[in-house]
């Protein structure tokens, strides 16, 4: 969402980049020869890991985008609950916390198998850039993308590196 806060910079961006894969696009397969990929979110299930490896294989520069991708952040809080395994996670989420109709997703193929421990992106693949923030502020994204578009190795510093 904070990407949308880029406001008019989005218009500036539009003619210079080709958006080839995104949750808001109807593209099923991650394309090849991608120049830059902003990866959001921590890795929680086997699909995420598979996807991360695919992204790494097909992308020149991978950016861990936001605190979840970099630290695990709130999505990794389940690690410290000591739930131990995915069954317990599902139990907590779908049964204990449910206000009505407690039921665990049972059908195969609906919910990808959860991994035991939520991981930041760089634990699984090589990450070229880290864009911190929860969410990363639009100004920070803009600064990063402008440098990258100008052909530089983006460098952020000071408050632009702040978590949270």
């Amino acid at each position: 969402m904070s990407f949308l806060d880029l406001d008019e910079f989005l218009l500036e961006l539009a003619p210079r980049v080709e958006l080839v894969f995104s949750p808001i696009m109807d593209v099923k397969e991650f394309p090849a020869d991608v120049d830059l990929c902003l990866v959001e979110g921590a890795l929680c299930n086997t699909d995420h890991i598979e996807m991360a490896h695919k992204i790494r294989r097909l992308t020149k520069a991978v950016v861990a985008f936001g605190d979840c991708a970099i630290t695990g952040n709130v999505s990794a809080i389940r690690n410290q609950l000591g739930l131990g395994n995915r069954e317990n996670v599902l139990q907590r989420a779908y049964m204990e916390s449910a206000q009505l109709n407690p039921c665990k997703p049972a059908l195969k193929g609906i919910v990808p198998p959860l991994i035991e421990r939520v991981m930041p992106l760089h634990e699984v693949i090589r990450v070229d850039y880290f864009l911190t923030g929860c969410p990363p502020h639009a100004e920070r994204i803009k600064s990063f993308l402008s440098q990258w578009l100008a052909g530089q190795k983006p460098r952020l510093q000071g408050l632009d590196l702040k978590f949270g």
């Binding site: 709130v74 990794a76 930041p120 760089h122 000071g158 590196l161 978590f163 949270g164």
Partner: protein, 240 residues
């Protein structure tokens, strides 16, 4: 008082005899990062962030406990030091559960500030995700051990300034924990005077005023300095 002349990062400065390197540097406008140092209480040299290179010394020395000497040559920001400081911060972030986005001290946290000022954009060590308690039994304050970095500032202000001795450290190594009395619930403490000095001293969001939510825990260290100065230098009138 006699003065000593020394160089910090190649610049010649002078400071009062008996000053620490940290103090001399601060007076000269050179910032040395630190987490366990707190003006007004004794130093313990524990966080290792203020380590500096001193010419002729075989090891890195903590600026907070190293007393200046004549002709001392100090380097405070070499590549090696910056690398170590960054790793020290990474170790801290990985050790407990420092989730800035939901922390009461977000934006007012010394750990967080050091992380971005030292360019720590990610942590290369495994996050340990330990399970630590939150003590919310006190009527005014709370303590979230998940955010504690064991700097022992609270222990020192409680003993050295307030004189209550309520807080101490139990266990050892990674299992060390800040305790209240005999590891009692804070709210049940016989010795706590609820003075709030520990809350003022905490560099992270571990100690907080009850009711503060994300980013609201702002501290006023000048109160601690005031009371120390008041007692030691008889300066009983608060000055801005």
């Amino acid at each position: 008082m006699a003065a000593k002349t020394l160089t910090i990062n190649g610049r010649q400065i002078s400071a009062a005899e008996g000053s620490t390197v940290l103090k001399a540097a601060e007076e000269a406008g050179v910032e040395i990062p630190s987490l366990c140092h707190l003006d007004g209480v004794y130093d313990v040299g524990a966080c290792r962030l203020c380590l500096v290179e001193v010419k002729g010394a075989s090891r890195l020395l903590p600026a907070c406990t190293t007393v200046i000497s004549e002709g001392m040559e100090v380097q405070t920001g070499t590549e090696r030091l910056i690398k170590y400081r960054r790793m020290t911060l990474e170790l801290l972030f990985a050790e407990r559960n420092h989730v800035c986005s939901v922390c009461v001290a977000d934006g007012h946290c010394e750990l967080q500030t050091l992380a971005y000022s030292l360019g720590m954009d990610h942590v290369r060590f495994d996050y340990l995700f330990p399970k630590w308690d939150v003590d919310n039994t006190h009527s005014l304050f709370g303590m979230d051990h998940n955010r504690c970095i064991l700097c022992t500032r609270c222990v020192r202000v409680c003993w050295h300034i307030e004189g209550a001795g309520t807080k101490n450290v139990s266990g050892r190594g990674g299992q060390s924990k800040i305790i209240t009395d005999l590891n009692a619930a804070w709210g049940k403490s016989d010795s706590c005077t609820s003075c709030g000095k520990c809350v003022q001293s905490c560099p992270t969001g571990a100690l907080f005023y009850k009711g503060s939510t994300v980013g609201e825990m702002v501290r006023d260290r000048s109160k601690l300095e005031f009371i120390v100065n008041a007692r030691e230098k008889k300066l009983w009138v608060y000055q801005d």
